[in-house]
Amino acid sequence: MSSEQIVEKGAGRARTPARALKLLAGGLVAIHVVWIAVHIGLVMNERINPWKLGGYAMYTVPPPQSQVHVFTRDGEAWVPGGEGYWVFSFFEANHHNVFRCAAPPEAALRGFLDENAGVRGKAVRLALSEEVMTREPFHIGREIYATIELAWSGETVTWRHEACGEQSEGRFAYAVG
């Protein structure tokens, strides 16, 4: 094999990964563009926390700082249950409340019941709130944007979720004892 042939063969080998890398770089930029466009759409429809999921909408609205409030039944009325409840497992399994309108996964509700033995067997309402800025009139405050009610029938939990004008419900078995 001549030296020219060797050089040419070597150059060919070098060209292939270079071309692949260019394709990879271009592809990644394209995916990034598509994701940002999707993220903008989700933010416009208020489906997600604008500060999360890599869409670069941080510092466009106040950080929502989503919180979970617990209400219990007093006759027909829901009354604030106070602050003695753990919501860590709920928050973690509910993807940090990033998806504003989505019903919580069953694991989130189970996590809440696991962490709060006192509410097992009792009707409970969870309310999710966030910091909101309205522009006209100019106002900053905390508003409830989603509720989840838990009702019991023996060892079956029925949940009803309401957010963004949408409702959903489901049930799962949970051993109270």
């Binding site: 770089a25 999360k52 869409g55």
Partner: protein, 277 residues
């Protein structure tokens, strides 16, 4: 410095550079190390929480970030450092994707793939192109998000920060006489200017402009934004990425300034200002 020490530094690729090319190569690796080290600084407070809840793999990943930053600095180990970074950040993303902050996502997009560009990644024009395009797209995306939110077009977000932001974010509060009643023309003008600047930089990056003056002005702008938002880690990441994308790298003096700012970020400027006032 003794000749033996000189020789060791040269072998590590950190000695006094002998040519402009070697100097640029060193500055590129410094920029990469600085970009990487900004990531664990952001996760410092999370690290305690991760330890408390038994996420030891994330604590380990945070330590791996630090090791990878050191390795990225040296010619021989730079690529190994980048591989370690990729492993650590993938561990973070898989575990915390829904809570992951935009700073983390930007480092994920830009640094994770760097090792694919060879042992001398800093010489690869495709990687620089990728960084420029990614930063440009991010700038334009952030500008589009501001337009959609409308809170920069009317200045209301700056008014919100002047009222409820950190101590440093109150600095433009004096521009409006009655913040409680809403944004004034000055905040609106500032909001529109910030949006236009972001759009202009994004377009210039996508167009492939790598002018040193543009880099210098953008670095000054990012430093100002970091001081305003009291969040230097993201700005250090941005500055380091810009330095690499433009192909100049980061000179040691700028790296020293960035390290100082990262140290300030751990304490927070607002805390210092509040303490002094």
């Amino acid at each position: 410095m003794t000749s033996t020490a000189d020789g060791m530094l040269h072998r590590a690729g950190l000695g006094e550079p002998v040519s402009a090319e070697e100097q640029t190569a060193l500055h590129m690796r410094i920029a990469m190390a600085m970009a990487i080290i900004s990531v664990p600084i952001l996760k410092l407070h999370d690290t305690y929480a991760n330890w408390d809840v038994g996420r030891y793999h994330l604590v380990a990943a945070t330590l791996v970030f630090v090791v990878s930053a050191v390795l990225a600095l040296f010619e021989r180990t730079s690529r190994a450092g980048l591989v370690l970074f990729a492993v650590a950040i993938v561990a973070y993303v898989l575990e915390k994707w829904s809570a992951y902050h935009n700073h983390g996502w930007l480092s994920f997009w830009t640094i994770t793939v760097a090792f694919l560009f060879g042992t001398r990644w800093w010489e690869d024009e495709t990687y620089r192109w990728y960084l420029r395009m990614t930063l440009g797209v991010v700038m334009l995306g952030a500008c589009a998000q501001k337009i959609v939110a409308g809170t920069y077009l009317d200045g209301s977000f700056l008014t919100y920060l002047s009222l409820h932001g950190s101590e440093t974010e109150h600095m433009f509060g004096f521009l409006c006489s009655d913040l409680e009643s809403g944004p004034c023309v000055a905040h609106q003008a500032l909001g529109v200017f910030l949006m236009l600047w972001q759009a202009a930089v994004g377009l210039l990056l996508v167009a492939g402009v790598t002018n040193l003056w543009l880099l210098a002005v953008e670095i000054a702008f990012l430093l100002g934004a970091g001081l305003y938002a009291d969040e230097m880690n993201f700005q250090v990441l941005n500055i380091a990425l810009f330095c690499m994308a433009f192909g100049y790298g980061m000179p040691p003096r700028l790296a020293a300034l960035c390290m100082l700012l990262l140290a300030l970020d751990v304490v927070k400027i607002s805390v210092i200002v509040s303490h002094v006032l």
